[in-house]
Structures are given as C-alpha cells and as structure tokens.
Symmetry: C2
Subunit: 228 residues, 2 copies
C-alpha cells in the first residue's frame, strides 16, 4: 500500500497527544502514506503564535497542507473532513463501507464521538469552565467523566445491539468509526478516566491497537512526547 | 427533481425547532423528496419515552427510518451523516462540490459549526450547566454567546479570506456548509443572540433563505410550532 511518491506530499501540523491529530495519523498509516510532520507546541501556546497563524489563521490542530502540484494553499482542517479526504484520494483500504446504509451508520457513530462528545472536553472548553465558569478541580473532573461516559455508553449501546457490529465497529475492517472510538479511548487514558461497562467498545479498541497503523499513532511515540 | 415514488419511503422523527432536524428538512427539500414526518414533543420529554425509545433507543433527534424494500430497520441518526446519505442516494442537486479539496473545505466548515460549535449549546449541556454546573441565567447566557460567537466568527474569517467562497459558502450552489450555517443562524434567532460583525455569513444565509428549500424548513412552519 506504500506510495513513496506521495510520502512528502503532505505536511501535517499536529501535537503529540491531541485526539484529532491521532485520528489523522492512524488514517495516514492505514493508507500507507507518510506525511511530513511539524510539531506545534500546544502546551506552549504555539498554535496561537504568529508563525502558525500564517499556516492556519484559526490556530486549530491538526492542519494538513497539500503540497501536491496545483493544489490550493488553504490548509485542510477538521479531522473527520481530513479522513474523508484521504479516503477519497487513496481508496484502498477503504475507511467506509461499500453501501450507503453502512456508510451512514459508520459516519453516525463517528459523529457521536467526534462531534457530540469530544468537543465538550477540549482544552478550550475546560479552560472556560475553570476560569469564567468557576469550576473547581472536582467539578471539572465531574464534567469530563459525565460527557465521556455519556458518549461512550451511547455508542456502546449501539455496538452491542446493532447487527452491523463485527470484529470492528462495522464489519471486520477498521473504519472512521473505529478511528474515532480509539481516539476517545486515548483521551480517557490521558485523563485517567475509567468508563466502566463498555465491553464491546473495549474489545474493538483492543482489536484496533493490535493493528500496526493504530499502534504507530500512539501519543507516546510521537515527536514532543515526554521520554518514557 | 420530485421523485413521487420515494415520497413515502422515509419517516423523519423530529421536532419543530431543533437545528439538526432543520438541516435534514432543508436537504430533503433540496432533493425534492418528501419524508413523512412524525412530531416528537421534545419540550414534553417524548424523546425519552418508551414509544420513541423503540424507534431510537438513544432518544436523539432527528432519526430517519428508511422504509425502502430490504432496508435495515436501524434508524439513521446524526444530521451530517444523514445529509451525506441523502446526497449519495439522490445525487442531484449535489450538496458537495465535485473536487476532493472542495469537499474537504465544505465538510470542514460544516464541522466547525455542527461539531465544534452546536454540541456546546444543546439543551442537555445547558441543563447540566444550570443544575450541576451552578450557572445562573447570566452565566448560561454568557456561555451561549461565547461559543456561538467563537464558532460563527471563526467561520466568518474563513469565508471572508478563502477564495472558495462564492454566492454561497463554497461556489454558487448551496452545500452542507450552507445548511449548517443557516441552522446556526436559526439557533441565534431562537435564542435571540446577536453575533455582530459577520457580514459574509449574514449575506450567505440571506441567499439561502431566498431559496424555497430553506424557506420551507423554517421552524415556524413545522408541525408543533406555536401559532403565529
């Protein structure tokens, strides 16, 4: 699946432990394409600095710049949009099922996690709550536990009940739903939050982590991660 | 564009003023397909009742049931997944541009609104903040103003700067980005929040509202809306 000619086509601006960057890394690994990676020090606020704002005026991570010939200089943003883009550009192996209902199911599960759950626990939201919102450490943690639990349990209920579930969230190949599920497990790991009672999700993320593409995207292995 | 044979194929469970239901209604109107609509009284908590839980165990709105022959009984959920599904099933008029970079831009703008912004201001989040979070009326309103403003101003910055912007968010035909933008304007209208300083977005939503498909999806025209 490796396409050496495309290995330097993309520049991925990311941070070692953000779940949205993780999702894009997994997809690149699954497609066998290696982007160049530029580390943006989110802990140090580099995403808001002048240099990065010239790349992405909104300061969000990740951003993906396509250096392919004739491509527009506007960076690609939003992890789910980038996953769809990579899947269109490199159709093998597919990150979405072949049928429209299957694709709708996979996109729905992905959005329950990446859209309905993750935006509630991002650093900017936690920052608001701990300053303007007056949340102390306990209240902040309760917020994280509540929304991560709500989102993951809702997905678990679907995975346990719906016939589409297989070795992975949908059938026996990993899709964008698995990438999003694994990314949320990554977050619960970083935040040391144990959402109990989600055995199907836990089994599926175990399957994901046995795949080299997911293992290679682990935060601890990225540039900028603290030494083990 | 009307396909009378498909007019009764879909059953849309929705509520008159939720922005996610609005998005799906606009898409159906653009495609010229009429779903049957079932009103779920969200103000009365009907989405959590036993009858609706048999349709969608998670209780979320909207849910779309496909009664087409041989289709799985699992309801389609998540508005962006439903928009992509309808665009695959009924390709004309397209809700996404023809090129991969254009699709990535449209999906990214849609997700900045439907994923990064809207989930922060949903009733369940406002409920949490006003009970467990201890937010009084002023703090609740400041939260809404902050996140709606943050999301809409970020999109405005892109629409004003990027060459892809045309009569609509991307070029001269409405896409899922416009549907999401108009849905957020609908929310600011319902909540009576004025996000000033977003002239490009305001112009584009004006263009949308002149289209019959958007006008017909206006909350005040739906079943369950209070009499004018």
């Amino acid at each position: 699946m490796n396409r050496p000619t495309d290995d330097d086509r993309f520049e991925l601006y990311g941070f070692w432990r953000t779940s949205a960057t993780y999702r894009v890394r997994v997809a690149f690994h699954l497609k066998g394409v290696k982007p160049r990676e530029t580390f943006v020090d989110m802990d140090g606020g580099e995403q808001n600095g002048e240099a990065y704002r010239r790349i992405n005026p909104l300061g969000g991570l990740p951003a993906l710049v396509d250096h392919g010939p004739g491509q527009p200089p506007v960076p690609l943003t939003q992890s789910l949009a980038i996953l769809e883009f990579l899947d269109e550009l490199y159709p093998q192996p597919p990150l979405l099922p072949a049928d429209a209902h299957g694709r709708a199911r996979v996109r729905s599960i992905a959005q329950m996690l990446a859209a309905d759950t993750h935006p509630l626990i991002t650093p900017r939201v936690r920052q608001y709550l701990s300053t303007l919102g007056g949340f102390d450490a306990d209240a902040s943690r309760a917020w994280l536990v509540h929304w991560l639990g709500t989102g993951l349990r809702a997905v678990e209920q679907r995975l346990a009940a719906e016939p589409g579930t297989g070795r992975f969230c949908h059938g026996d190949q990993p899709t964008i739903a698995d990438i999003c599920l694994a990314s949320l497990f990554m977050v619960t790991g970083v935040l040391k939050i144990d959402v109990g009672g989600i055995p199907v999700s836990t089994r599926i993320v175990g399957e994901c982590e046995r795949l080299p593409a997911f293992a290679a995207a682990a935060p601890a292995l990225q540039v900028g991660a603290p030494a083990l």
